[in-house]
Amino acid sequence: MFRRLPDAAPCAIGFFIDGKPASARAGDTVAAALLAAGITACRTSAVSAAPRAPYCTMGVCFECLVTIDGVGNRQACMLRVADGMRVETQRGRRVVSS
């Protein structure tokens, strides 16, 4: 769906999407990195289970929630992707245990 611009800097960041290695540009948000990697549904709705994807990409709509390094409901568009980051697409509600 999305392609990098031809003059974009090389993808130097290595991270994981659902356990599989992926790469991104330094400075990408997690949402941008997911979209560039071809992930068009990052979670399912906590109420209806419908697939959802990054929408506003500026922190407002809360559609891009994913699990990052074990913590659910993180806003992918508000975080920069980092080396070694473990991003997981989220099914339904965040699990919180004490």
């Binding site: 906590a46 109420v47 409901n73 965040r94 919180v96 004490s98």
Partner: protein, 375 residues
């Protein structure tokens, strides 16, 4: 127009939980009903409440209110089932029992005394409740914090999704033929020749009977038909978290998890007039107390805060009245539009249909405030 039939058997002023509960009940009894409502910017407690169906600790000073509350709580399951059957809207009612947590021995002692006083009143309705020690509370809510020393528990307490309740009532009453008229605030009501003329933006409407269910607006409307409604706004603030998997199976008076996963924390009681803004001071007090009760909450993201205005009487009890000077004019007001929804639909509506309030409601007349009926 003289001699022509009135437009409606009953016109209800107010389209919140109280008005729509009564409207649904009246339409179910075969009456031709209109609901005149304000618009989206109305003060609408029905969209800002905490959605408890709560029994424990209600009725100190008026045991009849405890009985009235218990009756509605007992009717709620059937009420919710009937709404779901006809409207397909699940209002998510459940009645697991509810807790009031104590964070110190003093708090627990005060709770024990308050419940003893409540249940020792003459003519108090009987229902079970227990005082639980920390161990017993922990079995129900394993996530409690170290400061929790105990709780009161009442198996009658429950909760629902009150936004869907409002939606179910709107859907249900329209299915039954009720005419919903939004943006029709009422400016004047006249009683002429045994019928009521309601005037406002959007013209005039005539009805044989009226029910004032306009919340705080009842204070202005009541005197137009010889009824007094000394009610004032009382602000309550609520903090809402992100949606997470169910971990809290019992509502804890000031903390509950909705069927959709959000955790609500509330609910303050402030005298702030018509100011329904949110203040950080109160919100942080709510949050810090909630975190002491359930420390896990500190790890959740807060996504919204809001404030809404309760419709409060001087003694905190509802008002049900029938006008002496304008027979056919009824007034219904309370701050527990969720808990009492079943009664308003299944008990009050049939009384309005029959044209008189039953004896068990007379204790709720505004006459108890010593306010003389006007005009």
């Amino acid at each position: 127009m003289a001699g022509a039939r009135v437009d409606f058997d009953v016109a209800i002023v107010g389209g919140g939980l109280v008005g729509t509960s009564v409207a649904w009940g009246l339409a179910r009894a075969g009456r031709k009903v209109a609901v005149l409502d304000e618009g989206d910017i109305a003060y609408r407690a029905s969209r800002g409440n905490f959605a408890l169906v709560w029994v424990q600790s209600k009725g100190q000073g008026m045991p009849e209110y405890a009985a009235w509350t218990k009756r509605s709580s007992d009717a709620w399951q059937g009420f919710a089932a009937e709404l779901q059957e006809s409207t397909k809207v699940d209002v998510a009612f459940e009645r697991p029992g509810g807790l009031v947590l104590a964070l110190s021995d003093d708090e627990l002692g005060a709770r024990v005394d308050a419940l003893k006083r409540l249940h020792n009143q003459p003519n108090m309705v009987r229902y079970p409740y227990e005082i639980l020690g920390r161990g017993a509370v922990e079995k129900l809510v394993p996530e409690i914090g170290p400061e929790v020393v105990g709780a009161s528990y009442c198996p009658l307490d429950g909760q629902c999704n009150s936004l869907r309740l409002l939606r179910a009532l709107h859907t249900g009453m329209r299915q039954l033929g009720v005419q919903y008229l939004p943006n029709r605030g009422v400016d004047a009501i006249e009683f002429r020749g045994s019928e009521f003329h309601l005037r406002g933006r959007g013209g005039e409407l005539r009805a044989e009977k009226i029910v004032l269910a306009a919340g705080i607006g009842n204070a202005r409307l009541g005197p137009m038909v010889g009824l007094a409604a000394p009610v004032r706004p009382q602000r309550g603030q609520i903090v809402v978290t992100e949606r997470v998997q169910k971990f809290l199976c019992y509502p804890i008076l000031t903390i509950r998890q909705t069927d959709e996963g959000s955790v609500l924390m509330g609910d303050s009681a402030e005298e702030a007039g018509f100011d329904d803004s949110v203040g950080l001071g109160v919100v942080s007090t709510i949050a810090s107390r909630a975190v002491r009760m359930v420390p896990l909450l500190a790890r959740l993201n807060v996504v919204r805060t809001w404030a809404a205005l309760r419709v409060m009487t001087a003694d905190g009890f509802p008002i049900y009245d029938h006008s002496q000077s304008c027979p056919g004019a009824f007034l219904v007001t309370c701050h527990s539009g969720v808990t009492l929804a079943a009664n308003h639909a299944l008990a009050i509506a049939p009384m309005v249909a029959a044209g008189r309030l039953a004896a068990e409601t007379h204790v709720f007349s505004a006459g108890r405030f010593g306010v003389p009926q006007t005009a």
